[in-house]
């Protein structure tokens, strides 16, 4: 990973930002039109500071331009196509060129190295289906380092634990929710963490507070590292922790980070909390320009004792939008409702969508009021409704789902 002096990095970022804008302006009508609406063209952006003149990109735009509307290269150059649940009826489709994949791999490999991963490690990846793309990226980058990789597959907790113990896993990449389930399962199965080879736990996909983190470290007898990424427009390793564990370093050769006030859209005062906004600097197929992540963060001042000059952020809990983060997978209320409508043929009059903690397991819970349109005196018919809605949601969102039919009077009026 480059450790350029700040002046040199600024120059590199400006060069990359300008060519990203030039390519996006030429090849993507969405970007061109939005710049022109503001009376701008790429040549107006003469410094990193000028970035604030550009309009924000939001999640809804990703769905609106389904499937390929935001691609900045001809389809012939795309070597991987990935989709994720979006915020509208359409999923988010993103693509990578060969070069994009190469950059991602190298970048993610750098972040793994910062967590102390070497070719001596056996690295196990345990991620839900909704984060499958991250699983692939981590697998590829760990292979670059030369670590022995156990790629992510859907296994029961029992099997996960068996692999963890018998295959002598030393590094585990997973979400905080999954790590906590695994820790609990170990306790039940009477497996002593000290018997395992596990030393490093890389937590991804969800914000984690320090108390929970310390608990995990104690329960699993490991050191933890936190990574930040975006799941829809793939990139698991946008920001990462170093051995100092003093905030997350942003991979600034590839991303520009801003923190804005989610209401006014203006940059926050230095060090103040706000919404994290990202601009890609090297991505060829799917450039993001001032993309509002919905994640809350703040910049950490000062140079990190590790010596990296990359700026640092603190990833804060809660989101600035109404998305739910279920085991690292971000699901949007609109998208959930759309899938419910698809299953039922109509939008239920009364419903509640929430994140549910069942024991240690996080689930998406959808409660639907049984009114005249849904009512049936046959239990079987009602069961089939639950099954249908559940399976459509699971298939489209890639998270565990629980559907409950409730009597109408239990719902307050919306």
């Amino acid at each position: 990973m480059l450790n350029l002096d700040p002046e040199e990095r600024k120059q590199l970022q400006l060069e990359r930002l300008q060519s990203t804008l030039n390519r996006a302006f030429r090849n993507v009508p969405f970007h061109r039109n939005r710049l022109q609406e503001k009376g701008l063209e790429p040549s107006c952006i003469g410094s990193i500071g000028d970035l604030v003149q550009l309009p924000f990109m939001e999640r809804k735009h990703l769905g609106e331009h389904y499937p390929y509307g935001l691609f900045a290269v001809p389809l012939r150059d795309i070597v991987r196509i990935h989709s994720a649940p979006g915020t509208t009826s359409n999923p988010t489709v993103s693509g990578y060129t060969r070069q994009d994949l190469l950059f991602w791999r190298k970048m993610a490999a750098g972040t793994l190295e910062a967590s102390g991963v070497t070719s001596q490690d056996i690295l196990q990846i345990t991620l839900d289906f909704g984060l499958a793309n991250w699983g692939r990226d981590y697998k590829d980058s760990a292979e670059i380092i030369g670590a022995g990789v156990i790629p992510s597959t859907t296994l029961s907790l029992d099997k996960q634990l068996m692999v963890l113990r018998d295959y002598k896993t030393s590094v585990l990449i997973t979400t905080p929710s999954m790590a906590s389930e695994l820790a609990d399962h170990m306790l039940k199965a009477k497996v002593n963490p000290a018997e395992l080879n596990l030393t490093t736990l890389i937590l991804v996909g969800e914000h984690v507070d320090s108390t929970f983190r310390e608990l995990l470290e104690e329960q699993l007898n490991v050191k933890t590292w936190l990574h930040y990424g975006l799941s829809e427009v793939p990139g698991p390793a946008i920001a990462f922790e170093c051995s100092e564990h003093a905030g997350l370093h942003v991979n600034e050769e590839h991303f520009l980070a801003e923190i804005i006030d989610p209401q006014s859209g203006r940059e926050t005062e230095a060090g103040q909390a706000g919404e994290l906004v990202l601009t890609t600097l090297t991505t060829r197929a799917f450039p993001l320009i001032r993309f509002r992540t919905g994640d809350r963060a703040r910049f950490i001042r000062g140079i990190c004792p590790c010596g990296r000059s990359l700026s640092r952020i603190e990833w804060l809990g809660r989101r600035t939008d109404d998305m739910l983060n279920i085991r690292g997978v971000k699901v949007h209320q609109q998208q959930i409702l759309f899938q419910v409508k698809k299953a039922l043929g109509f939008v239920p009059n009364d419903y509640r969508i929430s994140k549910k903690q069942q024991g240690l397991k996080q689930l998406l819970e959808v409660r639907i009021a049984v009114d005249d349109t849904l009512f049936s005196d046959e239990i079987k018919a009602l069961e089939s409704v639950v099954k249908r809605v559940g399976s459509i949601l699971r298939e489209n969102l890639g998270v565990p789902v629980i559907i409950r039919l409730k009597e109408k009077h239990l719902f307050e009026r919306k």
């Binding site: 040199e8 790429p42 290269v73 001809p74 389809l75 012939r76």
Partner: protein, 247 residues
């Protein structure tokens, strides 16, 4: 060593360079590639102080070049090998070379000029053979060598070359480019402007792709050489529409 920030160059009201940023680090060989009319030569002229109207920042070794004229820029250590060689045909090879050391003579550095002369003649032995011949009687390849040798006589830290391969047979192009690699090894930093993208990227550390006055791509030369878009642009196989070649 050289940092260009948001350079805008104008010919009258036409913006020929539309906010380009690029940098050359000490000891690097950087290639700037692009089609005819992309603005490559204009950019070099701005760096050398040969262009009247430009905006932005050009910094060489930490200080700005905006207020300097071309002779001061040469004195600071930047030499240009211009497009079409621009040697003085009636003058001898020797006189052409001595003219390259003009700023050195003015600083009374005669001994150094003598040493440099030996150095460039060692680099291009054919020029030694033709030292008293009129430059206009040299072949195209020899004239190009003379143009490079003349630029070296000013003891540049940064050598700029504008299309040195133009009009030369492939074998000669190879020879000229091999010389650049040698110069780089001797510690001279090089910014090479070329239409011959393949050849220029093969010898470079990094590259920039200029398209109608804007940089659209940059990176390690190896990365650009394997890039689909660069390959298409220079092999003339651009896709007309998004789905072409698939589906």
């Amino acid at each position: 060593m050289l940092q260009i920030k948001n350079l805008k160059c104008y010919y009258g009201r036409i913006m020929a360079i539309k906010g380009a940023s690029l940098s050359v680090r000490q000891g690097e060989l950087v290639s700037l590639i692009g089609a005819n009319g992309a603005g490559k030569s204009t950019l070099l002229q701005a760096v050398c102080g040969l262009l009247e109207h430009w905006e932005g920042e050009i910094n060489f070794q930490g200080s700005g070049l905006h207020s300097l004229d071309s002779s001061q820029i040469v004195k600071n250590g930047i030499s240009l090998v211009p497009e079409g060689r621009m040697i003085f045909p009636p003058l001898s090879v020797m006189d052409n070379l001595k003219l390259g050391a003009y700023t050195m003579y003015r600083r009374k550095m005669h001994t150094k000029v003598k040493q440099d002369l030996e150095m460039v003649l060692d680099l291009f032995p054919v020029l030694r053979e033709r030292i008293h011949q009129a430059a206009g009687t040299l072949s195209g390849g020899e004239q190009q060598m003379l143009a490079i040798a003349r630029a070296l006589m000013a003891r540049p830290k940064l050598l700029l070359l504008d299309e040195p391969s133009m009009g030369l047979a492939p074998l000669l192009v190879e020879k000229i480019l091999a010389t650049l690699v040698k110069l780089r090894k001797n510690g001279i930093t090089i910014l090479l402007v070329e239409q011959n993208a393949q050849a220029a990227l093969k010898i470079a550390d990094r590259g920039y792709v200029l398209e109608t006055g804007s940089v659209v791509l940059q990176g390690a030369a190896e990365y650009l050489l394997n890039d689909d878009e660069v390959k298409r642009a220079y092999l003339g196989k651009d896709y007309k529409e998004f789905y072409e070649g698939r589906a």
